[in-house]
Amino acid sequence: MALKILQDLRQAAVTSKVFVQRDYTSGTICKFQTKFPAELESRMDKQQFEETIQTLNNLYAEAEKLGGRSYLEGCLACLTAYTIFLCMETHYEKVLKKIAKYIQEQNEKIYAPLGLLLTDPIERGLRVVEITIFEDRSIGSR
């Protein structure tokens, strides 16, 4: 069902794209602005959007969290002259996989039925969350 919707979307023409920029007020950590873009007002619920972005922000915060675990990883890496990264996946990479899965889920469940598509920020160098707005056809009826 979700696949069908996405295939339909693929045929649809893109109307425009919205870019949710980074929020640097807390420093250099990866965080996106939760301000609801005007272009999406007619398409989706503000609450939903904010929840998605907030969850993403929380996941990125988890990836960059400074704590015992990350320090341990760092020290271990230093002791092995950083060769350990050849065989081990870092905590950050694990969280990025989680984020990719979350975005896919959100697309399938919420955004694709509304004719929208979220792009994983990692594909845009963590600069923006790109939301593609597709033409408003009756996608669900096909």
Binding site: T28, S70, Y92, E130
Partner: protein
């Protein structure tokens, strides 16, 4: 050498490929059937090896010299000094030396071959969106739209500058390296000795390299002195000892001259790590209190131990440029360079694609199919701003100096400052290059708030 053109991105031109100059991509795009990886079309000045696994700056600088010096000195040490010292003292001497040597080489190679934290350039859609936002914010008056954004970080005002090459507002602490032609996160400096930029992802390798190199140099120096002393006690004085072991003198000379600079550099970087600063910020004096204002570093945790842990042991973010990812077939690189063509994306048979592939292909296919909102035609009277937009300045990039004019090892700060001024002068010759500074005559009038009063942050190449 490519010519750099600055033009405002015209949304209407995005769909056509005629307006662009011919592409400089190697191996004709239409002919190649195999899937190409993204590193092959990377717009910055970097070299890639091992199919994208290894990357470094375009000019390897004096990296071969660095490696050569380390190998030669250590080789001489193990061959000529160690046998004597093992006899007279202990077998641990070559063991310690060996461990240090291996550590030095590994951290050096990791510093050179790791992505320092390069930010990929903005895609055309994004760049247009940002330009539109910049337009909207300043269009009320005739004041030209600002190319800086001010934000508050920890109650400190930080200016974000717009990068004309990468077409985006640079995140805080990010700087554009003119050698590598990339924006690098937490940019420290471009090190010719290592042949790469030092930034967020490889700073800890660099620090480990210089600290272990100081240990290695001091260790070899000490051992050679011990060797010569012991030898001169046994036989007829120091002259005979030197004649017996001339290699030791060579090592002595190399170590003596290196030790001051390397120890100095290690000390300097230890200070930077403890205060969570970058070389770039320190030399520009970004956070020092000037004109009586109280400005502190907003990124520090105000605790030496925490700062050290964060800088050296914090999580390493993965590389953002995805060197080994595959380009979609028959698609051009979607970055904004002056010579990018945007051929139409041919839709492939997607019956067999899974959801993820579909999502990816959709995301990538929207570049051409997007009909960008046409900008409102500018009917305002010709202002400096619109003049700027229509002028396209073709500049040729400066002759890149093979290395900085200053000896790479001098890390003491007074010398740093004089060297950075030399760097400033060099970049001042190229005032027309938009990516360096916005200071050529048409720009200076309208963009005076942008003149980097704190020195260029890209033309600057600190000496080590």
């Amino acid at each position: 050498m490519k010519n750099c053109e600055y033009q405002q991105i015209d949304p209407r031109a995005l769909g056509t490929s005629n307006t662009r100059t011919s592409t400089t991509l190697p191996c004709g795009r239409k002919n190649s059937q195999r899937l190409r990886r993204k590193w092959e079309v990377f717009p910055g000045n970097n070299r890639f090896y091992c199919d994208g696994r290894v990357m470094m700056g375009r000019q390897c600088g004096v990296l071969p010299l660095t490696i050569g010096l380390i190998f030669i000195t250590s080789g001489l040490f193990f061959t000529f000094d160690c046998p004597f010292l093992v006899d007279r003292l202990t077998v641990f001497i070559p063991v310690i030396g060996g461990v240090l040597f291996v550590f030095v080489i590994m951290t050096l190679l990791q510093t050179s071959f790791t992505d320092p934290g390069i930010l990929p350039r903005a895609l055309p859609d994004e760049a247009v969106d940002i330009e539109r936002q910049i337009d909207n914010s300043g269009s009320a008056s005739y004041r030209p739209p600002p190319r800086t954004k001010e934000i508050l970080i920890n109650d400190q005002v930080v200016k974000l500058k717009y990068c004309f090459t990468c077409k985006m507002f640079r995140p805080p602490r990010t700087s554009h390296c003119s050698m590598c032609d990339n924006c690098v996160e937490r940019f420290d400096h471009h090190c010719p000795w290592v042949g790469n930029c030092v930034g967020k992802r490889n700073y800890r390798f660099f620090y480990a390299f210089i600290v272990s190199l100081s240990f290695l140099t001091s260790f070899i120096f000490g051992c050679v002195i011990t060797h010569l002393t012991l030898r001169s006690q046994g036989v007829n004085g120091i002259i005979q000892a030197i004649q017996d072991s001339p290699a030791s003198v060579a090592e002595l000379v190399i170590c003596f001259f290196s030790i001051w600079s390397i120890l100095g550099l290690s000390g300097f970087h230890t200070y930077l790590v403890a205060s969570n600063l970058t070389t770039n910020e320190d030399i520009k004096g970004s956070w020092s209190s000037k004109r009586g204002e109280e400005s502190g570093n907003p990124y520090t945790y105000n605790n030496i131990f925490t700062n050290c842990c964060v800088v050296l042991c914090g999580p390493i973010p993965p590389s953002l440029i995805d060197r080994r990812g595959f380009l979609p077939p028959d698609d051009a690189p979607q970055t904004v360079t002056s010579d990018t063509e945007l051929p139409p994306f041919m839709s492939k048979n997607d019956a067999n694609m899974g959801t993820k592939e579909l999502l990816q292909s959709m995301a990538l296919s929207t570049v051409i199919q997007s009909t960008c909102t046409p900008g409102t035609p500018k009917t305002a009277p010709v202002t400096q701003e619109s003049l700027l937009r229509t002028v396209s300045i073709t500049v040729s990039p400066p002759n890149r100096p093979p290395s900085t004019g200053c000896s790479g090892h001098q890390a003491q700060r007074p010398i740093d400052v004089s060297c950075s001024q030399k760097g400033n002068k060099r970049s001042a010759h190229h005032t027309h290059k938009p990516m360096l500074r916005v200071s050529s005559p048409p720009y200076s009038l309208s963009h005076s708030p942008l003149i980097l009063s704190d020195g260029p942050d890209m033309g600057f190449i600190p000496l080590n």
